[in-house]
Assembly symmetry: C2
C-alpha cells in the first residue's frame, strides 16, 4: 500500500475548488501534484490556493493530456464540465491512472459502454465520486433496509431539488456548463445524487436491476421568469428558449417489482431536498418531513388525527449507520456536512491499495444513463424506454454495495 | 327555491353512515325520506339512527329503483360501492332526480361517456361530491394560485396515501367493495381526492386540459404481509394474489405544459397524506411538511443551511380562502374537519334551486377516467395513454371552477 497518494485534478470550477479547499487539502496522505483547467486564470488561482496552504506549488496545465503523462501522478480527479467527464476518465484509464470522476448524467448510451469497455480492457480502478451515497440519512436508510426495518421494500422516491436559477442564468459569465445544457437539453440531467442511494438500498446491479422508465417534463418557465426579474427584457438570455423543463418526473420499474420515482426540480424557487422516500411492508421514511413511520412502533399523533409520524432523530441511536456513528465520534469534517470527506477517504484508501471505490463503473453508468433515457422518453411523449444491463447479466450475482 | 330538500340515500355502508350522522342529519333544510341498501340490516340500522335523531322514519328499500319512483324524493345521494355509482346516477337522472354521487374511479371510458350522454339528454343536475375540493389547504392553494402568489404554475403533485390495510383485508367480512377491487384490478383506483383540487388549481376543463398520462405500479406485497401478520397462513386470503400494486405512480401532461404527479399508496404502513404540492415560477407549497416557500419573502432557515421553509400557518391570514375564513368564523362543523359540511351545503344550496354543484359531470368523469387510463398504461408497461376530452372542445371557454 502506498503511503501517499499523488493526485492530479482536472477541472477547477466551483466544484473542484470547493472540494480541494474543504476536503482534499486537509488530508495528510494526499499530495496535489498537478492541476488542470482550460482557463489559465483558474489554474493560477488554484495553484496559489495550494501554495498558501503550505504545500508545494503543483504543475499547472490547460491540456489534461499533459498531466496524464506525468509519472508522479497516481490518480486523476475529474471535476470538469459534465460533457468532458467520460472523455477525461477514459483517457486517464488508458494512461494507467486511477480515476475518480465527479457526478453528472450521460449524453449517450454508447458513451456509457465506452467507459465499461475501457475499464474492462485496461483494468485500471475507476469510480464515480457520488458523495450522497455517504449522506447520513441515506446511509441510515441503507442500514435500516438491510436490517429489515422497512420489511420488504416496494417503492422508493428521490429528487434533485435545488434552486439553481442564479448559477444557471449567469452560467456564461461564470463559465458554468449548466447554461448550455439547460438551453439545449431536456432530461433528468443530474440523477445520481438521488438515484445512487436508492440504487444501493434496492441492490440495483447487486441482485436487482432497473428494467425500464417513463419520464415527462413540465414546461420551462423558471429561468425566463428569473432572468426577466433580475435583468429585464433587454438582457439577451431573456429571449432564449430554454429546452430544459422546470420539473422532470420519472418512474423506473425494477426487476423485482419495485418502482422508483425521481424528480429533477432546479429552476424554480424552493428549499433544497433530495426527497428520499423508502416505502416497505413494515414502514417508511420520508425526507421532506424528516419522518419515519414503522408499523407497530409508537407513532406520534401530530396536527390532525391522521398524521402520525416520528421524527428521524428518535431512531438515530437504533439505526444510524456504523460509519456515521464513528464519523461523529471522530468529529465530522469536510464539505457538504461530511459527505465529501467520507467519499474522498473511501476513494483515497482504496486508491492507495490500487483499488477503486466507492462507485464502480457498472453502477456509475447505470445511474448516469438515466439522463439519456429520460431525454428519449420525454422526446417521445413519455414512452417507456428500456434500461440497458451494463453488467451483461452479472448483476444477479454481484455482492451488495458497501460504503 | 325549495324550502326543504328531500333526499334519498342509496348505499348505507361506512361512508353513507358517517355522512348521514355527522353532516346530513344536522341540516335543518334537508329531510332524509328514503334509504336504500342491498343489505336489509344496514337499512334497518340507518332507519333507526334517523328515528333516534328525532326525524321521521324514512322509507327503506333494497332496490334503489323503488326510491327513484317516489315523487317526494327531490335528490338522490349515491354512497354505494364504486362499481354501482354510475348505474345508479344515470338511472336517477333518467327518473328526473337531482344526483350527488360519491367519489371513486371509473371502470371504462364508455361508462364516463354514458354519464355525459345521460346528463346532456335529461338535463338533470348531477354532481360528484368531492369533499377534498373543500379542504382548507386545497382551497388556500386555489386562492393563492388565482392571486398569482406562485407565479406561473408549472407542476403539481398529489396523492391518496392512506393505510387501508385493515379495511381492505377484512373487506369480505365488512362487505367492503375495496377487497374485490384490490384482488382484481391494478390502477390508481381513487384519483379524485388528490387530482380534483389540483385540476381546479390548473383550470383543467376550464381553459386547460389533461392530454396524456403514464403510470407504473409497484409489486403488491402490503396486503399479504399484513394478513400473514394478523391471521397467519391458515387464513384463505393469505394465499390470494392481490392484483393491486402497493404504490401506483402516475404522470399527467396538460395542454398548457404543466405536469401533474399522482401517487396511490393505500396498502403499506404510513401516515395519511394527500401530498399536495404546487410549484410555480414564484413559489411552492408542499403538504408533507406543511410549508410554503415564496420567492423574495422571508424564508426561514431550518436544520440545515439549505432547508428554508415557512410554515403554512404564517400565511393563513394572507391567503386563507374566503370560504374558510367565513367557515371558521361560523364555527367549523361536520365530518372530515369540515370538508363534508362545505361540500354538502354547496350541493344542497344548489339542489334547492334546481341546480348542480359542486363538481359537474364533465369534471367528474375527467377525474374518474384516470383509474381506467392508469390501468391501461400499467398493463402496457407504462405506455402513454391519451386522456379523452369529455367536454368535446368546450374546455377552452368554460369559466373557472368556483367552490
Amino acid at each position: 500500500m502506498k503511503e501517499f497518494l499523488n493526485i492530479g485534478i482536472v477541472g477547477l470550477g466551483q466544484r473542484g475548488t470547493f472540494m480541494l479547499r474543504d476536503t482534499i487539502l486537509p488530508q495528510k496522505d494526499v499530495n496535489v501534484v498537478a492541476v488542470c483547467d482550460v482557463y489559465e486564470d483558474r489554474c493560477e488561482d488554484i495553484a496559489r490556493l495550494i501554495e498558501e496552504s503550505g504545500r508545494p506549488r503543483p504543475k499547472t496545465a490547460q491540456d489534461y493530456h499533459e498531466i496524464l503523462k506525468m509519472d508522479e501522478v497516481d490518480a486523476i480527479l475529474v471535476t470538469s464540465a459534465w460533457e468532458a467527464h467520460l472523455d477525461i476518465t477514459c483517457d486517464a484509464m488508458e494512461a494507467g491512472k486511477i480515476v475518480g470522476f465527479e457526478v453528472g448524467g450521460a449524453y449517450s448510451i454508447e458513451d456509457c459502454w465506452r467507459l465499461i469497455r475501457t475499464y474492462e480492457k485496461t483494468g485500471v480502478p475507476c469510480s464515480m465520486l457520488e458523495n450522497c451515497c455517504y449522506g447520513r440519512n441515506e446511509l441510515m436508510m441503507l442500514n435500516m433496509a438491510r436490517m429489515g426495518a422497512f420489511g420488504e421494500i416496494v417503492h422508493c422516491e428521490g429528487g434533485y431539488c435545488h434552486d439553481l436559477r442564479d448559477e444557471i442564468s449567469y452560467g456564461r459569465e461564470n463559465r458554468h456548463y449548466r447554461f448550455r445544457n439547460y438551453l439545449n437539453r431536456c432530461c433528468d440531467n443530474y440523477p445520481t445524487h438521488d438515484l445512487g442511494p436508492i440504487a444501493n438500498i434496492l441492490d440495483i446491479n447487486h441482485g436487482n436491476r432497473m428494467l425500464s422508465l417513463v419520464s415527462m417534463a413540465s414546461k420551462a418557465r423558471g429561468l425566463h421568469s428569473y432572468i426577466m426579474d433580475k435583468e429585464g427584457a433587454g438582457y439577451d438570455a431573456a429571449t432564449f428558449d430554454f429546452a430544459q423543463g422546470d420539473v422532470v418526473t420519472t418512474i423506473i420499474k425494477c426487476a423485482h417489482g419495485e418502482t422508483i420515482q425521481l424528480t429533477l426540480d432546479t429552476t424554480l424557487p424552493r428549499a433544497y431536498s433530495r426527497r428520499l422516500q423508502v416505502s416497505g411492508t413494515k414502514g417508511m421514511y420520508q425526507e421532506d418531513n424528516q419522518s419515519i413511520f414503522l408499523d407497530g412502533r409508537e407513532n406520534e399523533f401530530h396536527d390532525d388525527w391522521y398524521k402520525r409520524w416520528n421524527n428521524i432523530e428518535e431512531y438515530r441511536e437504533e439505526f444510524d449507520h456504523p460509519i456515521w456513528k464513528q464519523f461523529i465520534k471522530d468529529g465530522v469534517n469536510g464539505g457538504h456536512g461530511g459527505l465529501d470527506w467520507l467519499l474522498f477517504r473511501a476513494f483515497v484508501d482504496a486508491a492507495k491499495e490500487g483499488k477503486g471505490a466507492p462507485v464502480d463503473v457498472y453502477d456509475a453508468v447505470t445511474w448516469m444513463s438515466i439522463s439519456v433515457l429520460t431525454e428519449q422518453s420525454i422526446a417521445m411523449g413519455g414512452m417507456p424506454v428500456a434500461i440497458p444491463d451494463f453488467t451483461n447479466g452479472k448483476w444477479i450475482e454481484r455482492p451488495k454495495w458497501e460504503p
